[in-house]
């Protein structure tokens, strides 16, 4: 099973029980109004937040748990990895604090403990510890209106399309997270266009790690090529210089 969350914006009443449940389940402290916090409410101490979307809608933000995560591909020490269930998690023991994951994430999700002398990257783990114990993520359990539900990704996508099909007058005809950047495990359906709110601008379907793959695959060839060319050039030039010197002697 691929763990996934479907958030139906039309059902969200903005009560922020999910935010509270997340804080309790993950032992996150109270939020302080720091300079480095963004307006979307996510931070090292808030792994999910509810922002006000267009036309009075409420949109819950959290890590999207991409199927092909840019952060995992970017991390030089493999501190971020994807579990079998699809959750993208962070290993603080490996991290060295380069923050490349924060730069790479197309949704700008990972947040940093800027106020700590020993800072770590913090983000939603899809409540991995609860998944392992056979429970649902805390946010989906806390939601009083079932606006955010947990399940298998394939089933949730079917469910999302079913909702859109049944009430086309209510829903925007798109399941966010189904295709962009290779698909994400956290899906959205909404009565409004969420593109700008979730990612800042439209995302293409190509997964981001593919963009670096070509360059990285060229590395060994580039190295061998450059070294061979340089050695060859040196040999040729050396020989020519020797010959010139000999001719000069004669």
């Amino acid at each position: 099973m691929r763990a996934a969350i479907l958030t139906d914006v039309s059902k969200c009443i903005g009560c922020r029980e999910c935010v509270r449940a997340c804080k309790l389940a993950n032992g996150l402290g109270p939020e302080l109004p720091h300079r480095w916090n963004l307006a979307d409410g996510l931070s090292a101490r808030s792994w999910t937040s509810v922002v006000e979307g267009p036309r009075g809608s409420f949109v819950r933000k959290q890590c999207r748990h991409c199927l092909q995560p840019a952060c995992v591909s970017a991390c030089p020490v493999g501190a971020l990895r994807q579990t079998d269930s699809g959750a993208v998690i962070y290993d603080r023991e490996r991290c060295m604090g380069c923050r490349y994951c924060m730069m790479a994430c197309p949704f700008g999700v990972p947040r940093y403990e800027w106020d700590q002398p020993v800072p770590y990257v913090r983000k939603c783990t899809l409540c991995l510890q609860r998944l392992r114990a056979g429970q649902r993520p805390a946010c989906t359990e806390a939601c009083p209106t079932k606006a955010t539900v947990f399940g298998d990704r394939g089933r949730l996508i079917e469910e999302a399309h079913r909702r859109i099909r049944e009430r086309p007058e209510l829903y925007w005809p798109k399941v966010w997270g189904e295709e962009e950047v290779g698909g994400t495990s956290v899906l959205y359906v909404a009565p409004v266009d969420l593109t700008a709110l979730l990612a800042g601008r439209p995302l293409e379907e190509a997964p981001l790690p593919e963009r670096t793959r070509a360059a990285m695959q060229a590395v060994p060839f580039a190295f061998t090529g450059v070294v061979a060319t340089m050695a060859g050039l040196r040999w040729v030039i050396e020989r020519r210089m020797k010959r010139q010197a000999e001719e000069g002697d004669e």
Partner: protein
């Protein structure tokens, strides 16, 4: 004082300033010493120290390639300084990176935890290996002066060609991979810069910069030590540079055209301006200058072309590294002075190391004579105080230490209280709740408050007897102190007990021994209890034992007190909504009834505050 000495004095001062910044950075974290944020996680330290630093150190592989591969013997005189600059440059890159990394002591993780998909992993490895190669390439120079190292030196000289070739290979990789770093951020980097060809553009510009850096450095040190610059060899370097720069401009233009982004070139905006400034400085202007033969051969021409080119390329790296990004939200990043100071300090330290090396070892054909080492010279008096500080070497060291320490002290003084205390949250005084039957609780007066039905609570909880439920402690002589009087800051804990006021002769005039018994350590734990003097500090039936002297912040106190009670009652009364945030926070930005007749005033962060009619004007 000579030019060199004045420069060293300045470099030591900048290093001292950076030392103060470094202390704050490593004690209190990145948040208070930089302007980085969740929206801008990479800033000046990555753009300048790392990306700019690696590019600036490109002279090493370019010049060694010219001399040892292409056998251009006329450049032989600049090989040693170029390799030394590259070596120190890479050391500076690593030092700068230690500032920027959140967990710098984990930098070795790259050696054991591998992720070959990551361009940063590749850059890290290449930099480590190339640093080793550079050390081995340069080691024979200082080894000349130590006869014991002759065998090592000979072995290294024999391995020179393989080392040079490995260095060129490694440089090609990581100079280009620094561009690959940004391939994964198509939605972040501005379209004027984002292209799949970034690695190639980075490599070509690094070659150009390496050449210009060699020219620039040669002239700078010539000016400094009164050496003769290698003007003719440098003119030849300039000749090669112009073609590289031309190639770069062509690549950049072709790439923009192929991606259909040419329209950006004329669209007004600061990013377009940055693009033109960058391209003009790094390639167009130096190439144009170098195509004029007279300019190419003149000292001033070489200086200008190389200096401008170096500046432009560094600007390019800063742009790609963080400046020309499409920010998240409306965050605009300007480096903090502490960031600039740390970077300047790292560069200064590297420059000092460079000057040390050229003075002690045969980096140039002839070692520069120390202008003050003349034994027949008259003693010189220090400009301030007109004292003789000893022989020049000692006097120099005294002055350098002094300038380092003074600058470090200045740096510590300049650090804001926020960066010195490390919380990153500014103090914000909490203010009194307003109203009567219904209290408007909005400690920071930002308009978002909660209307607390005070009288209703009082009645429900049992009249006057219920006061101590919330008013758990009152100031001496006060019957119901407001929450804000002890919980004085909105978010930070503050002292409920004013120790200094008690001790001050103009305040409480309480002698130390009244609270701290003789022979006891003077600590809060061993001091006399407040209640022993202030009998009325807690009301009868108080729900708090006065042990703590630190009162939690206003928000935390209110939440803890109200929510704790509400959650308990929610269970007792089976009213689940009572424990939820929305029970009190109803997204109400206005004082309910009285507000209609109220007035408004400017509040923090440009918000309009609506104040109730009875509030004092």
């Amino acid at each position: 004082m000579s030019r060199v000495h004045r420069l060293k004095l300045a470099l030591w001062a900048v290093t001292g300033l950076a030392g103060a910044v470094a202390a704050a950075r490593f004690l209190f974290g990145l948040g208070v010493t930089t302007n980085l944020s969740d929206g801008v996680p990479w800033g000046f330290w990555i753009g300048f120290d790392v990306m700019g630093g690696v590019a600036l150190a490109a002279g090493g592989f370019v010049v060694t390639a010219a001399v040892y591969i292409f056998r251009l013997e006329r450049f032989h005189s600049i090989v040693r300084p170029a390799v030394l600059t590259a070596f120190l440059g890479y050391l500076a890159v690593v030092a700068g990176l230690l500032f920027d990394l959140g967990l710098p002591w984990n930098i070795w993780h790259m050696v054991v935890f591998w992720n070959p998909h990551s361009p940063l992993f590749e850059v890290g490895w290449c930099v480590m290996l190339y640093l080793t190669v550079l050390a081995l390439e340069f080691f024979p120079v200082p080894a000349e002066q130590f006869p014991r190292l002759a065998a090592v030196r000979r072995a290294l000289l024999r391995a020179r060609i393989p080392l040079v070739i490995a260095g060129i290979g490694l440089s090609t990789l990581h100079q280009s991979s620094l561009g690959s770093l940004f391939l994964i951020m198509p939605y972040r980097l501005h379209p004027l810069w984002y292209t799949p060809w970034l690695p190639v553009l980075f490599l070509v510009s690094a070659v150009g910069l390496g050449l210009m850096m060699a020219v620039f450095e040669s002239h700078l040190t010539a000016w400094l030590y009164g050496r003769r610059p290698e003007t003719e060899a440098l003119a030849a370097l300039g000749g090669a540079t112009r073609w590289v720069l031309l190639l770069y401009v062509a690549l950049r233009g072709a790439d923009l055209a192929a991606r259909g982004q040419l329209a950006w070139l004329v669209r007004p905006g600061w990013r377009t301006a940055m693009f033109w400034a960058e391209l003009g400085l790094m390639a167009l202007l130096p190439a144009a200058l170098l195509f004029v033969p007279a300019v190419r051969r003149s000292r001033a021409g070489q200086w200008t072309a190389a200096g401008v080119g170096v500046l432009g390329t560094v600007l390019n790296r800063i742009n790609v590294g963080g400046l020309a990004h499409l920010g998240r939200g409306d965050q605009f990043y300007v480096p903090a002075w502490t960031e600039l100071a740390a970077s300047a300090g790292v560069v200064s330290a590297a420059a000092l190391a460079f000057l040390f090396m050229v003075e002690k070892f045969r980096v140039w054909e002839e070692r520069p004579a120390d202008p003050e080492a003349d034994p027949l010279k008259l003693p010189e008096l220090a400009p301030v105080g007109a004292t003789w500080l000893g022989p020049p070497a000692v006097a120099g060291r005294t002055l350098y230490s002094l300038s380092f320490l003074l600058a470090a002290a200045l740096g510590l003084a300049l650090l804001e209280p926020v960066s010195a205390s490390g919380r990153g949250v500014e103090r914000m005084a909490a203010r009194r709740a307003r109203g009567g039957e219904v209290l408007w609780v909005d400690g920071n007066r930002d308009g978002y408050g909660t209307a607390f039905p005070h009288e209703a609570h009082q009645k429900r909880e049992g009249g006057k007897a219920s006061c101590p439920l919330c008013h758990h402690m009152n100031l001496p002589g006060d019957r119901h102190s407001g929450c804000f009087e002890c919980h004085r800051d909105m978010y930070l804990a503050s002292d409920a007990f004013r120790h200094d006021w008690h001790a001050s002769p103009r305040g409480g005039r309480v002698a130390c021994w009244r609270c701290h018994a003789e022979g006891q350590p003077r600590r809060a734990a061993t001091a006399r209890r407040c209640l022993e003097c202030h009998k009325d500090l807690t009301p009868p039936g108080a729900t708090i034992a006065v042990r703590q002297y630190r009162a939690p912040g206003y928000v935390e106190a209110m939440h803890r007190w109200c929510v704790g009670c509400h959650v308990r009652r929610a269970q007792q009364m089976n009213k689940p909504d009572l424990g939820r945030c929305t029970a009190c926070h109803r997204e109400r930005r206005q004082w309910p009834e009285q507000l209609a007749a109220g007035r408004s005033e400017a509040g923090p962060a440009g918000k309009r505050l609506l104040l109730p009619a009875w509030s004092a004007p």
